[in-house]
């Protein structure tokens, strides 16, 4: 570490003016980044980690302001610099990459032109050599066939490719500091690994400093030299990456550490204080019983979509895209099965077909001895099996009607299918369900936007178990949650399963999470099942190459 840090944030306080008065989002934060150093800022949502970086870049929205403290970047005071100075610094000296690369690119311009724009803006290229330099940058971020990709529009590229373009733009002017705000959230693990490896390699080669903002402690520990842990707008701990994993000092860091799913632990280990330590956890792991009849049996399930433009070209031979390509699996009563794969592998399509929200092209779905695959999805709402098959959705915000209170959301299936007609009866049942999912009763009268992410997840779970289904499909129910909330929700799901004897089909991209909850894991790739085995077997001795690749991509903290 050099004597003079590249970036020095001292005593930074950021306030937001809101309807209910002033809110302090960041208070008295100190942060230094030395030349060539990679610093991770880790914290859960609302910890102020993003706001800190916005304050450094001076891109806070209008309601926010730096109330106190200084931000110094190689001798320049940024906290009171005027806009002209900031314009020069942004992009040329400090650049930033955001989550959701697709939103950061202009959808109607070719990606090459967007790289050129930045080069010209900061006088790094002339109109004559801009194209050449842009193609060099594309090559730098390892995009195959850069000359052709130069002409691509963002929608023609995958999420990982778009993030590479963003990195190319960010590095175009050879900045000295790169701020990466959740650069890989929303990308698949294998893509995440490729993108992060690229960022680290490029910044190391150029002796750049990097600030990596993430909620994923494992990711930060793998790629950063030093980690700053933030909680509720304050820095609670700063330590070298290795030390923070071996000996976390602050209780919050310890909590965060223990809530992060990792190999070799049980579900109960995620919780900060384990009252269950005395009483051993209920037995979810069940020995497979070959004589038992499966509750769900899927045989040769296929879903085809017509290829885009196939009709227009008038060529039927162009064929169809097979999102799900002939898969077969069983789920036994009381068993929980994980369905794992990367985006686009067909796992969500499969769960939608099993849920009877989508009609399969061919194949059978036998549920409790009936071929429910033959019943059209649009008639299934009236089918007696509807109450037996329920689902918890991925995005708890999107899956709750913004105009329904929590009570109404949970009561809806009771009124529609459960045969409840009187308000008092519904109230009693909803309150019982709220108790089961540990949701305080006074929250029942709130609208979704008045609830936190974890509370919304509970409402979604309460709604799904209201009809006491036999099979519950969980579509990445914790993907949008903070790790500490995820820990609680996963434990809740395990308890509910033990209590109600449901079967679970747990759809996820995260093998570490799936392993904690599931007895058996199915790995899907490109519409097919590549491997199917018990959870422990998959984790310890994966047979398929793709499964091994998935496992290797999971961030591994240096323990």
């Amino acid at each position: 570490m050099t004597a003079l840090p590249l970036l020095h944030v001292s005593d930074l306080t950021v306030e937001f003016q809101t309807r209910n008065g002033t809110v302090t989002a960041v208070s008295s934060v100190d942060l230094t980044v030395a030349k060539g150093e990679t610093v991770g800022i880790v914290g859960e949502s609302g910890s102020g980690k993003s706001v800190t970086s916005y304050a450094v870049m001076r891109i806070l929205d209008r309601a926010g302001r730096i109330a106190d403290g200084t931000v110094t970047f190689s001798g320049i005071e940024l906290h009171n610099a005027d806009d002209e100075v900031m314009r020069e610094i942004r992009g040329r000296e400090i650049s930033m990459i955001f989550q959701n690369p697709r939103a950061a690119l202009n959808p109607i311009r070719r990606v090459g032109e967007q790289i050129e724009d930045v080069l010209r803006q900061h006088a790094q290229a002339t109109s004559r050599n801009a194209r050449e330099k842009a193609i060099d940058l594309l090559r730098l971020v390892r995009i195959n066939d850069p000359e052709a990709r130069y002409l691509a529009f963002p929608f023609e590229l995958s999420g990982g490719m778009c993030q590479r373009i963003i990195i190319a733009i960010a590095l175009a002017c050879r900045p000295r500091l790169l701020i990466a705000d959740e650069p890989t959230t929303g990308l698949d693990v294998t893509t995440q690994k490729a993108v992060m490896d690229l960022v680290v390699e490029l910044t190391r080669a150029r002796e750049m400093s990097t600030v990596l903002i993430t909620h994923d402690l494992g990711l930060a520990a793998q790629y950063c030299d030093r980690i700053v842990v933030m909680e509720k707008g304050r820095v609670v701990e700063t330590a070298p990456a290795r030390r923070i994993f071996r000996a976390p000092e602050h209780p919050y860091t310890q909590r965060l550490m223990s809530a992060t799913p990792r190999p070799g632990i049980t579900l109960r280990d995620l919780l900060p204080n384990r009252p269950e330590a005395a009483a051993p956890p209920p037995k979810w792991q069940r020995s497979p019983d070959a004589t038992e009849k499966p509750i769900l049996s899927v045989v040769d399930l296929v879903k085809e979509y017509p290829r885009a433009g196939a009709k227009a070209r008038g060529a039927e031979s162009a064929g169809a895209f097979r999102a799900v390509d002939g898969i077969s699996f069983d789920i036994l009563p009381g068993e929980s099965v994980g369905l794992v794969g990367e985006s686009g592998c067909g796992k969500s399509t499969t769960s939608a077909m099993v849920m009877r929200l989508l009609d399969p092209t061919s194949g059978t779905i036998r549920f409790e001895d009936r071929d429910i695959g033959a019943i059209p999805a649009k008639n299934f709402a009236r089918d007696p099996a509807r109450s037996r098959l329920q689902m918890v959705f991925q995005d708890s915000t999107d899956s709750l009607n913004p105009r329904f209170t929590a009570f109404r959301a949970i009561a809806d299936p009771l009124y529609r299918i459960g045969g409840v007609t009187r308000e008092a009866q519904a109230r009693a049942q909803v309150e019982r369900l709220a108790d089961q999912v540990v949701l305080p009763h006074d929250l029942l009268d709130r609208f979704p936007h008045q609830l936190s992410g974890g509370q919304k997840a509970r409402v979604g779970i309460a709604r799904a178990i209201a009809l006491e289904p036999a099979l519950l499909v969980l579509d990445e129910p914790t993907a949008a949650l903070d790790v500490s909330v995820q820990a609680i929700v996963l434990n809740l799901l395990a308890d509910l399963k033990a209590e109600l004897g449901m079967s679970y089909l747990f759809v996820s991209h995260d093998l570490n999470v799936v392993r904690l909850l599931c007895d058996r894991v199915i790995v899907m790739q490109a519409g097919r099942i590549v491997e199917q085995a018990s959870a422990e077997e998959i984790m310890t001795s994966p047979r398929d190459a793709y499964t091994r690749e998935l496992l290797a991509a999971v961030p591994r903290p240096p323990v």
Binding site: T18, R19, N20, V23, A25, S45, G46, G48, S50, V51, Y54, D61, A63, F98, Q99, N100, A103, D181, E182, T185, H215, M355, L357, K378, A381, R382, R386, S387, Q390, M391, F393, Q394, D395, D398, S399, L400, N401, P402, R403, F404, A409, D412, P413, R416, I417, P440, D442, L443, D445, R446, F447, H449, Q450, S452, G460, R463, A464, A480, L481, D482
Partner: protein
């Protein structure tokens, strides 16, 4: 977790925690919300004050005015504004103030009825075509294109001329020309929500398609529609007044702002400005009020604005 949103939404998340979870009835919560919307934005407050004035003129007008709006008085022709006649008198000696106030009821009835008709039918058609798609969507879409292909005021003139010169027909004509705006808006708002998570969840809860559309999707499309309704009220008043102005609407001697402006326009050159100016101002005030009202109405029907 979404980092970009995260940073911006965060202060809200912080403030939400200490809120005391007090059990409130729906009505008191709604009233508190209305009060908040009104007090937080002075423009909305002004709009609602003006609306109250216009509504009381429409409801109580005939009982409040000093003169009978139809009573002619040969001795008081063309008198300029005075204490006895605030807005002056017209060529037949009728009190302009009384006529302007009394006319509010007719103009409001025409515009409210026309907007209500086009809202009910337009949003129903739009919602159905946005939700089900297919041939129904195509049919409704082409119908709207056909209506939009005409200059709208000329279409309204044609309808009134063909059906006859009555208040009912003005309402129908105004409703028809406004229909496509509601259809398109409802279609777009419903379409983006058709596959939202909460709609899927409603399907799992055993709701039929029609129930999902009516109770789950449509209420969520209301806030932007409220702005449209409010703007349309202004247009509808102007439209009705315009039809009357060119002689295709309400017929004299019925007090109506459009006709009064039309009749008064003849006298502006000779210096009797008050005949046209006061009904014109009333018209302007009404349109202005409804244009301001939109944002406030949207905030009131949008539960996300509540805390």
């Amino acid at each position: 977790m979404q980092a970009r949103k995260d940073g911006l939404a965060m202060p809200v998340a912080i403030q939400a925690e200490p809120v005391v979870p007090k059990r409130e009835t729906g009505v008191s919560r709604w009233l508190r919300h209305v009060r908040h919307v009104l007090t937080s934005n002075p423009v909305t407050l002004l709009a609602f004050v003006l609306l109250t004035v216009i509504l009381s003129a429409a409801i109580l007008g005939p009982a409040l005015v000093p003169y009978d709006p139809l009573q002619t008085n040969a001795s008081q022709q063309m008198k300029p504004p005075s204490w006895a006649h605030w807005f002056g008198t017209d060529q037949l000696g009728r009190d302009v103030f009384s006529r302007v106030v009394v006319a509010a009821r007719l103009d409001l009835i025409i515009s409210v009825a026309a907007v209500a008709l086009s809202f009910v039918f337009g949003s129903a058609l739009g919602a159905v075509s946005g939700y089900f798609g297919g041939w129904c969507d195509k049919l409704v879409g082409r119908l709207c294109d056909t209506i939009m292909a005409f200059p709208l005021f000329v279409l309204a003139m044609g309808i009134v001329a063909a059906l006859g010169n009555t208040v009912d027909n003005i309402i129908y004509a105004t409703a028809i020309i406004n229909l496509p705006f509601y259809v398109r808006m409802a279609r777009a708002e419903v379409n983006v929500r058709r596959n939202a998570g909460f709609v899927q969840a409603a399907r799992l809860s055993g709701n039929s398609d029609w129930r999902i559309l009516a109770l789950h999707i449509f209420p969520n499309a209301l806030p932007p529609m409220m702005v449209q309704i409010s703007l349309n009220m202004g247009w509808a008043i102007l439209n009705a007044a315009g039809l009357s102005f060119i002689g295709l609407g309400v017929r004299p001697p019925t007090p109506e702002w459009g006709i009064m402006v039309a009749e008064g326009a003849n006298y502006i050159v000779s210096g009797e400005w008050w005949l046209a100016v006061f009904p014109g101002l009333a018209l302007m005030l009404a349109v202005f009020t409804f244009n301001l009202l939109g944002d406030g109405l949207r905030d009131i029907v949008d539960p996300q604005r509540r805390t």
